[in-house]
């Protein structure tokens, strides 16, 4: 059981009460509470490990390419994750793929967050815009997005940039829904009426009062959207829509499938699969844990 300070308030209220404090006193407490459970500490360590691998791994591991003499070798000391049907080192492919997965995840998530937050706040604040925002969001969410992304990526020409934009531009509806529903709660609070009574403009109320109150949710959204982006990127690369010039976890699995070795060379699909699982799981757990750590009522669940 984690030690929760009795005076802990929801983060939204903190941000609203103390807009002048640069670092709210609850920030350190939140961080400590976040790390107080093994799931919090473990997920953050795992995310850092992936980040380090993506940033510095390619400096130590040669870029996979060409033909090797040792074909389809199982994992050994020389080849930790084995080799594929061209004799390339699967470990090197996974390390180089980490960089692409992280780049696409972070950049696509940033695009989706900016669009999603802007639309979500617009819907929460303006009742006239809300009808449009909700309709478009619901429509987007009801469409099969993977086939749509496949079609657009294929026509725009597969590249890391294309993947980033396509995933980012089709991932905002979930962010919008989350920010809008919580923004509605904030907008109905008395202090917003107070700001309006003092003559604040709509723009000022949204950017200075509502936005800070939903920042914690934006943090959660960043993690969850990035997690989904990793899955989308892997899916598109697995279908042959990855950047042909750079490695990606989905492409490694696709190569195994194309060369017909998935039943024999288990290492070629297992290790990229584990990388996807661990990265997405730690981002999801970190998001959920961050959300819970802000809410003292949830400490028993």
């Amino acid at each position: 059981m984690s030690a929760t300070p009795p005076d802990a308030r929801p983060a939204g209220a903190v941000a609203a009460d103390e807009p002048t404090a640069s670092v709210p006193p609850s920030a350190m407490r939140s961080l400590r509470r976040f790390l107080s459970k093994p799931s919090g500490a473990l997920s953050i360590s795992m995310l850092l490990l992936f980040l380090m691998t993506g940033l510095f791994g390619p400096l130590f591991v040669d870029r996979p390419g060409g033909l090797g003499a040792e074909i389809l070798r199982p994992p050994s000391l020389a080849h930790w994750f084995g080799t594929d049907d061209l004799g390339q080192d699967v470990f090197a492919q996974v390390v180089w793929g980490t960089r692409v997965s992280l780049t696409v995840a972070v950049a696509a998530s940033a695009i989706a967050i900016v669009i999603g937050t802007a639309l979500g706040l617009l819907g929460a604040y303006s009742r006239r815009a809300d009808a449009w925002v909700t309709t478009v969001t619901d429509l987007m969410l009801s469409l099969p997005l993977l086939p749509l992304m496949i079609m657009v990526t294929a026509l725009a020409g597969p590249s890391v940039t294309t993947l980033t934009f396509v995933i980012g531009l089709f991932s905002w509806p979930e962010v919008t829904r989350l920010i809008r529903s919580n923004g509605l709660v904030v907008v109905s609070m008395p202090y917003i009426d107070g700001a309006r009574a003092l003559g604040a403009t709509g723009w000022r109320i949204v950017t200075r009062e509502v936005l800070p109150a939903v920042v914690p949710l934006i943090v959660v959204s960043v993690l969850l959207t990035a997690a989904r982006a990793v899955i989308s990127e892997a899916g598109l690369s697995f279908l042959g829509l990855g950047d042909p010039d750079s490695w990606s976890w989905g492409r490694i699995i696709l190569n195994a499938q194309r060369s017909g070795v998935i039943s024999t060379a288990w290492w070629q699909t297992l290790f990229p699969s584990l990388a996807i699982l661990l990265l997405v799981l730690s981002a999801t757990v970190a998001g959920v844990r961050f959300n819970d750590s802000r809410d003292p009522r949830l400490k028993d669940r």
Binding site: L143, P144, P147, I150, M151, S263, L281
Partner: protein, 317 residues
């Protein structure tokens, strides 16, 4: 009631129209002349011009749009670049397999997810509950092809329990054909259900916890009904409709998953068709596949809504 159905049907048509319109203009605004992509190698300017005229690409964009819409309403999705057949015919021949796969996954996820979510909620904090919670969070991190390959390698190749590709053995007749059908369906279906089930059961568990706190549940317990009877008779009945609606919202994701599973298992549905069309750069086929899948999802969602309404006494009245 008629008004409810009419409103939902209008909404469905609006969704499809927006999907079609957005894809049409998105594809025209993207850089690159589609005719350059039809055939690799050299093509004379005259051949290109003839091709543009054939696809109507020499006309103004709005004219192209109306042309496209009017053809679409008549069920014409254009001609495949590679197979030189109407896109509609190609997709319609594959669609039943995807509908079978995604439809079975839809039903099976509901049938397994409801008891799992209800049971976890009733045993809150116990081991079952914690397993469901863990499964629910892990589910978001599962990559469909990874699960598919795991099942294919272990249950298909190593143990040899299931076939590793295709949808049916063409030599079987009568009852054997049905057995062969389900035998081939098992692994692709299982990989979809494994990925969907956890998050679904977890959401139902949360809904159920709210239901269990409501007054009529307390009063049922107060009247002396056993916890078991209260749970399965009263609470479950009120959990079913939200559960159905929730699964309806997952249809788009489910179809996306089916595209990936079909690719792993060489299952002859629209998903496998998309994979092949990507390899051949067959754009009309990709566009047609998206539109047909969107229509399928929207219609299935409409059916889910109408079924929910027929089961819901509050709306039906």
């Amino acid at each position: 009631m008629a008004e409810f159905i009419a409103r939902r049907a209008m909404r469905a048509i609006l969704t499809i129209w927006i999907a079609v319109t957005v894809t049409f203009f998105l594809l025209r605004l993207l850089p690159g002349d589609p005719t350059l992509l039809v055939v690799e190698g050299d093509m004379t300017p005259e051949m290109q011009q003839a091709l543009r005229e054939q696809y109507g690409l020499d006309k103004p964009m709005m004219t192209q749009y109306w042309l496209y819409l009017s053809e679409l309403v008549r069920g014409n999705l254009g001609t495949s670049f590679r197979q030189l057949q109407p896109v509609t015919d190609i997709i319609v021949s594959r669609l039943p397999w995807t509908a079978l796969l995604a439809g079975s996954a839809f039903v099976l996820t509901i049938l397994l997810g409801i008891p799992l979510g209800v049971y976890a909620a009733a045993h809150r904090g116990k081991r079952v509950d914690r397993v469901v919670q863990m499964f629910g969070i892990t589910g978001h991190a599962l990559f469909v092809p990874s699960i598919g390959i795991l099942l294919l390698v272990v249950a298909g190749s190593w143990l040899g329990w299931f076939p590793i590709g295709g949808a049916i053995d063409p030599d079987t007749r009568g009852l054997d054909a049905y057995i062969s059908l389900f035998h081939h369906l098992a692994l692709p279906l299982l990989s979809l259900v494994v990925v969907q089930l956890g998050p679904y059961a977890l959401t139902l568990r949360t809904n159920m916890l709210e239901v269990l706190g409501e007054d009529y549940i307390k009063s049922a317990r107060g009247r002396g009904l056993s916890p078991q009877r209260t749970l399965w008779r009263h609470a479950l009945r009120n959990a079913f409709l939200p559960a159905l609606t929730l699964m309806g919202l997952q249809l788009g994701t489910l179809v996306g998953g089916a595209v990936l599973t079909e690719t792993v298992f060489a299952y002859p549905g629209v998903g496998r068709l998309i994979y092949e069309a990507v390899g051949q750069l067959d754009y009309p086929l990709l566009q047609g596949a998206f539109i047909m899948l969107a229509v399928t999802v929207v219609v299935a969602n409409l059916i889910t809504d109408v079924v929910s309404m027929l089961l819901n006494p509050r709306i039906r009245a």
